[in-house]
Structure formats: C-alpha cells, structure tokens
C-alpha cells in the first residue's frame, strides 16, 4: 500500500470471464448502493444498463435539434439565394417553390443529424481521451478481445475497498486490482509536436502567397496554372499549318467569291436609278446611294441589309409626288421574256403573294387573316392594279426600289431576294397589271380563238359558283328562320 500513498487511487477493477458472471456482479454492485460504477466489455452487452442502473442518454434530443437546424438552414439558404438575393425564374415557377427545395432540405437534415449523432456521441462519452489510468494494466488490453471488467470509482460516496473486493471475489472476479495514476507522461512526444508544427507552418505559406498576390498589383503578366482559354490556338495570318496540303494557314477565296466593292453589276441595276443623271441633280444623294450599294460598308448584290432608307411617304403610291425628281430607270434592264416572267412569277409567289395575293389584288392570306382577327395595327397592302402604280406614273426603277427598300409597313426585300430576281418581279407585276387592261386585239391572231374559249369557260364557272353560293345562303337563312 505504501506505493499507493504517493499516487492517487482511482478505483478498483476486476476481470470476469463471461457475460453472465459480469451481469451478476453488476447487479450486486448496484444493489450495494454504488453509483460511480462502470463495466468494460468487448461488445455491447444487453441488459447491462439495467444491471448497473445507467440512465438513458440525451443524444436523441441533440440529434433532433441538429436535424431541425439542418432543415431550416437548407430552406433559408435556398430561399435567400434563389428567391431574394438573386431571384431566378425557372420554368415559370414562383420564386419560393418549396417542392424544388425539398431534396436539398432533406439532404442537409440528414447531414446535420448525422453530425449531431456522431460528434454528439463522442462528446457525451468524453472521447477522444488518450490518457486513461485503466490502460496502465496490461490485462486490460483484453477488454477489446474477450474479457469483461467491472470497475468502481474511488470518488463514490460509499466507496470502501474491502467491501468492493468482497463482492468481486464472491461473484467470480479475477485479478482484482486498484487503479492508480498513470505515471508515464501524457504529453505529445516532442518530435511529433515539431513535425506537426512544421506541417501547419508549411501549409500556411501557399495561402499567404495567394493572399499577397490578390491584394497587390504586378506589372508582369499573370502566372497561368490553368490556361482558362486565355490563349487561342487559332493561327495568325502568314503562319504555316499542317492541316492543308499547301502548308498555309490562310485560305484562298472560294471560287465565285465577290469581294466588297467589287460587284460586277452596274449601279443603275442595283438601285433602279439612273445614277449619272442623279449625280448631276442631287450629288449628295447619289453619293450616299453609291456608298450604301457598292461601298465597303454596304451590302453587295442586295444580299444583306437595305440599300436606301424606307420611303415613308404614303402619298407616293396614290399620286406622283410633285417633288419626286429622282431619275428612275423607266425600263426593266432584264427586258421581257418568258424566262424572266417565269422567274418573276416564282418569286412573286414566294414573297409577295402572301400579302398582295396571287393576282396582285391586295387580298393575300395574311391580309385576310388580319381582317378576320380585326387587327388594329394592320395596314392593308396596296392593290397593284391601280393607275398610280402603272408604269407611266410609277417607273420600273421606282417599283424596284420599293421592293428593295420597303414602304410603310412593308419591309425591304433586298436582304432576301437577289437584284436580278427583284427585277424579274417588277416584270411580272407589269404583266399582272397588263392582264387586267388587255384588249382582245393585243392577243396574237392565231391564239385568239383558244383564249376566248377558255375565257368563256371561266366566266361560266364563276357564274355557277356565284349561283351556288347564293343558294347556300338562302338555304341557311331558311333554316335559321325555321329554328326560330
């Protein structure tokens, strides 16, 4: 006992061979009134809480608290980030759309609860604890193998070494020992401490460098750890390349390419204006037209953009403008041939007929639809069969310019139809206009009977159609009257 006088006695421990003898001993110790007791076992022994009188743990409540914190954190985070601070509209859903926030809320609830269970358990158990006086006994190593230990702490109010020993002996306890202070040092060995310190110091250095770089300016280009697409692999002019047989990175023009400003068409053809005359009368306008049509910034061959500002004056279509001194081309440069008319018919059908109608009467499908839905902003397209649009009042060049640049609500078609096709449309429009005013004499003698015959058939059909419509209307009226 003399050696124990110098060191503090922690308690007394005994070793048991089986679960049953341990449980029996636990009950005896509990019944003797000891409170500060514990059993040490290699696996959880069921029923030992009762045998020792251990109270249930508060851990589930800690976990509940953590879980609720997780749910609330997730919801607040998502609502703040996606609905308040940086509102996203996704699939037209409300800013706070809870169903979409559920998965993350669930995951964070589980995560926080698990942290609560894991760390809470260790904290309640007072672990990690690397210095434990029980471990001084080498026999105690078998607690994690196949032996069971019972311990009574010296700080228990009823602690009395001899009576505890008695209980141990009666219940089959072996190797009964007092547990004394561990006299070995519980300090971390110096080399480990040093190494640890060095690792921490070394890991701070890169962070400090990054911090310094972020707050200071430097004249040298930034150091690229990752390229971040800062350097384009595209070749510069005059560089070589292995991709092509000729070894050049620059490629020659595709055959047929027309460079800007090098169009082969003449200006009159592209604008519908006699440019020479215009230059004499209105040099600034001529200059602008040239620049827009053939200059380096303007479109070529009418393939992009507009060649001149849209004419906004609606009077131009109804009567010749007194101030219109533009020397328009009066003759279609393509002339009139069956081929030109067929081309014009094709493009008129594609681009013009949707508004102006197949016959040019101004009642195309779009117009019909707009009237049906009573569109308030709709301006009906002009009929092409009015005196003011005939070639004596509205020269071919002007018609070409209108197709190219648009008028009122009508957009310019220079961007969609090539110049020669626009001229073909002009020719076709003239043909349509002529069809309403042609006299029988203008038909070649040889074809006259054939055409007159066809005309008669058409007249007959129109008449029958009108009668049928009338009959249908009458019948509808009659049934309506009957139902009343």
């Amino acid at each position: 006992m003399s050696e124990n006088n110098e060191k503090k006695v922690h308690g007394i421990v005994a070793e048991y061979e089986s679960v049953d003898s341990l449980l029996n001993a636990c009950r005896r110790v509990r019944d003797a009134g000891y409170k500060k007791t514990d059993a040490y076992t290699p696996f959880p022994v069921h029923g030992i809480d009762k045998a020792l009188g251990i109270k249930p743990t508060v851990l589930p409540w800690i976990v509940l608290g953590c879980g609720l914190t997780g749910t609330i954190t997730a919801l607040v985070m998502q609502i703040w980030m996606n609905s308040i601070d940086y509102p996203y509209i996704i699939s037209g859903k409300p800013y706070i759309s809870l169903p979409a926030f559920m998965p993350v809320a669930f995951e964070l609830t589980v995560l926080f609860s698990s942290f609560g269970a894991f760390f809470g358990m260790w904290a309640l158990n007072g672990l990690p604890r690397f210095s434990n006086p029980l471990f001084t006994d080498p026999r105690f190593d078998r607690v994690t193998d196949d032996r069971f230990f019972l311990y009574v702490d010296a700080s228990d109010d009823k602690y009395d070494e001899t009576s505890v020993r008695e209980i141990y002996e009666q219940t089959g306890g072996e190797h009964i020992k007092t547990v004394i202070d561990d006299d070995s040092s519980d300090k971390i060995p110096k080399p480990i401490f040093m190494a640890w310190g060095l690792v921490i110091a070394a890991s701070v250095i890169p962070l400090l460098i990054v911090l310094k770089m972020r707050v200071t300016n430097s004249e040298s280009p930034r150091f690229h750890i990752f390229y971040d697409m800062d350097f384009s692999p595209a070749k510069d002019a005059q560089q070589g390349s292995t991709l092509f047989a000729d070894g050049r990175a620059m490629r020659p023009d595709v055959p047929g390419t027309v460079a800007r400003g090098e169009s082969n068409y003449d200006l009159d053809f592209m604008t519908g204006v006699q440019m020479e005359k215009l230059s004499a009368v209105d040099p600034p306008r001529a200059e602008r037209l040239v620049r827009l049509t053939a200059g380096p910034i303007g479109p070529q061959d009418g393939t992009v953009g507009v060649t001149e500002e849209k004419e906004e004056d609606s009077a131009a279509t109804t009567e010749p403008k007194a101030t219109d001194t533009t020397p328009w081309l009066t003759k279609n440069p393509l002339g009139t041939s069956e081929q030109v008319l067929r081309q014009g018919q094709k493009y008129f059908g594609i681009y013009c007929s949707v508004c102006h109608g197949m016959n040019g009467g101004g009642n195309g499908l779009v117009n019909r639809r707009a009237r049906k839905i009573l569109s308030p902003t709709w301006i009906p397209p002009s009929s092409l069969h009015q005196d003011s649009l005939y070639s004596d009042q509205y020269p071919d060049g002007k018609l070409f310019s209108t197709i190219s640049n648009g008028i009122r609500k009508m957009p310019g078609y220079a961007g969609q139809i090539q110049a020669k096709d626009r001229w073909a449309i002009v020719a076709y429009v003239r043909a349509l206009q002529a069809s309403r005013n042609a006299s029988v004499e203008s038909i070649p003698e040889a074809k006259r009977p054939e055409i007159l015959e066809k005309l008669e058939i058409v007249d007959q059909q129109l008449k029958e159609q009108a009668e049928a419509e009338q009959a249908a209307q009458d019948a509808a009226k009659a049934t309506a009257a009957d139902s009343k």
Binding site: S18, V19, D38, A39, Y40, T41, P42, F43, P44, V45, I48, D49, L52, I54, T57, L59, P60, M77, Q78, M81, N82, D85, Y86, Y88, I90, K93, S97, A100, F101, P103, V104, E107, L108, V110, L111, S113, S114, A117, F118, G120, M121, W122, L124, N125, L127, P128, R129, F130, S131, N132, F135, D141, R142, T144, D145, D146, F149, I225, F226, D228
Partner: protein, 468 residues
Amino acid sequence: MSLAIPNGLDNSVEQPGQRAPLVLGDTTYHDITESVCQVAERKPSTGWVIGFLISFALLQWMTVCILYLIYTGVGVWGNRAPIFWGWPIVNFVFWVGIGHAGTLISAILFLFRQEWRTSINRAAEAMTIFAVACAGTFPGIHVGRAWLAYWLAPYPSLNLWMWPQFRSPLLWDVFAVSTYGTVSLLFWYMGMVPDLATFRDRSKNKFRRMAYGILSLGWSGSSRHWMRYEKAYALLAAFAAPLVLSVHTIVSFDFAVSQVPGWHTTIFPPYFVAGAIFSGFAMVLTLMIPARKMLGLEHLITIRHLDNMCKIILATGSIVGLAYGTEFFIAWYGQVQEEQFAFMNRAFGPYWWAYWTMISCNVISPQLFWIKKFRTTPWIIVIVSIFVNIGMWFERFVIVITSLSRDYLPSAWAYFSPTWVDWSMLIGSFGLFFTLFLLFCRLMPVINMAETKSTLAKQYHMSHSDKH
C-alpha cells in the same frame, strides 16, 4: 465458452423453430479476434502484393489521364455533340450505384434486425466509400474546367456575383452525393472504432500502437459509452436508410427531370434504386467470395450469407427486369412518338448490342438464383455477379448514350465512339477502387468483430437455453 457447431455444417438449411447459426465452427470470442486481426497482422501474401501493384499502377495511369485531360481539355474524350455526357457520366452512375449496397446492408438490414449483416457490413461499407470516391471523380473532371469545380458550392463568390441554381437536379446531386459520402464515412468510421481499439491493444510495435491509438480515440469499452454508441449507431442507421434511397433517386432526377426521350419518365427513381442495390450486392459478392477464401474467413462469412445476398440479387434483378418491360409498355401506352422511337431505337437501333448485353446480364443471368444449388456454390455466384456488374454498366451506357445520340433533332444524330482516354479512365477507376480496398484489407478490421461477438453471444445464449 465454445460452441459445438461443426465447421462443415451447411447453415443454409432452414430448421423449423431454430435460427441457423451465423458463426460456424468451434469459435470463441478470442477466435473471432484472432481470425480478423491476423488478416492485418501477418505479412502480406504474394497475391495481395501483386494485386496491389496492378491496382496502384492502374490508379497512376488514371492520374496521368486526368492530368492530360486537364491540360488538354475535354476533347480527349469521345464526348461530341449531341452526346456531351458520354462515358464520364456512365461511369459516375455506375459507381454511385455500386456504392449503395454498403449502406443498405449497414442501415436498412440493421433496422430490420437482419443479424446476418454483421460479418459483411464492414467490407460492404468500405466498398461504398471507395465506390463513392470513384463516382465523385467523374463529375468533378467532367465539368470541363475541373479547377473551378468548387463553383458548385453555394459560397458568396466575388467572381460570379451569383448563387447556384437550387431548382436544378444537378445541384441536388451535388448535395446528395456529398452528403451520402460524408454520412457513409462517419458511419463506417464509427463502426470501426471499437475494432480499431482491438488493433491498438494487440499491436506490438510503438508506431502501430500510436496510430491505432489515435484512430480509436481512446475507446475503453465502457458500458456507458456502448449505450450512447449503440443509440448513435441506431440513429445514424435511421438517417442512412432514407438517405441511401434518396441518393439514387436524385441521381435519376438528373435524367428524369430533363425532356430527353427515354429519360423523361416517372419510373426512374424506383428503377434506379433497385438497380443500384442490385449492382452493389453483385460487387460485394464479387469481392467477398475471393476475399473470404484468401483471408480465411469462411466460418464468419458463411454460405448462408452468400445465399441471402443471392436472394436480394434475384429480387432486385427481377425488379430491374420489370422496369425494363414497364418502360416499353409506357412508351407504347403513352403514344408519344419520340418515346416510342427512343425505345425501339434502344432495342433495335445501332446500339442493339449494348441493349441485349444489358438484358442478358441483368434480367436473365440472376434468374439462375431461383435454384438453391446456384445460390450456394461460390464460383457460380462470382460468375453471375460479374455478369451483373457488366450488365449494370451497360444499363447506364444504354440510358445515357442511346437517348442522347438520337433525340429530337435528327440532323444532329451521331454515333458515340469512346477514345483511349475513356477506356483508360474506366479501367483506372477500378484501379482506384481496388487500391483503396486492398489497403483497407491490410490496415483496417475487415469484419466487425464487436458485432460478430455479440451475435456469437446470442447464439451461445440460445443454444444454452435449448438445453434446459
């Protein structure tokens, strides 16, 4: 303290009124300690060294490929318009699926009091964590600029001035997989602490004692500690059970929430979860059967354990087969032209070979397990499990590649061809997985000794009370 159960006993036979023993042989608590600890304490076998060197070499090759990818760009993969997801996402879903068995065994079987889980749960949990590590690699490098992968996290960024989009399943996925990885790691580590204490108390040299001493946190086996420990374990199991179901559900949302034909179906969550458990158990069996033989653990991981796992494979495999059929039925019944095309294209289009590999491996091969002989013959189980693993990889291939390669825009259709980098990364991910697993076998307790001992205690208690 010993049990007179002969070593050769077939514990897969049901005896009415009696529970089949889960620990065989004349085993004591100390025998369990010995048989598990000797795995880590003896010198590594030649087989282990060779296996480790091969796995480690593959892992290094994968690392080289990742560096090459980061240096060059994602063009080194076969991912081309319109198949931008490619093999990285196939591999991601494959590995996440494998990672489902561990937590299922640990958590769900624990909650259902399936005692046979005790000797397999540790290795299965380890597999989960390693599989999640493999899985996490792929989306990480698939983001293109991998060094900016941290943009996925909701942190107040001074570069972006914006937050992640929380209505996207891809972000849910980040939370689901990282939560799953974290919780699985906690669960695994917590389960290991008492066994690490055994390692600590048995270790002869000072370094081992210190290392295991730190890892075991000063565990003393106190009954008060055990009480809180068991409570925490039950709570973690209760969270991990819905978590394991949620993870693959959310992975399936990555597909199901999109509009792509063949993906946009409500069947995906249950179908993916069943497939994940299916593939996870197959991987557990593939590894456990050689391991129990090589590590001498046949009396702890018994034929009954294998039999039970085969039954789960049979059940989940049949669910997966039913899901394949249901997809076709719904495509027909739904009368959406694109859906119908997507499924006909899967079975009879340019990827027919992948589809029928999937069907034969996943639906047909597990049907062998209706016959008890096949469920109790280890080498047949290994072969079927490997087929299931192959089949489940092809399932993800079929889902990802066939749907993307032919969607709504026929002018963009294309055929996917993997590059050597794709192949290297698939094989290299197995290198990562096996490197970690082999290290685990050497350094950590491969079987939960404490739980197996308590199973033995119950077994002893029962056979003891029978005598009265």
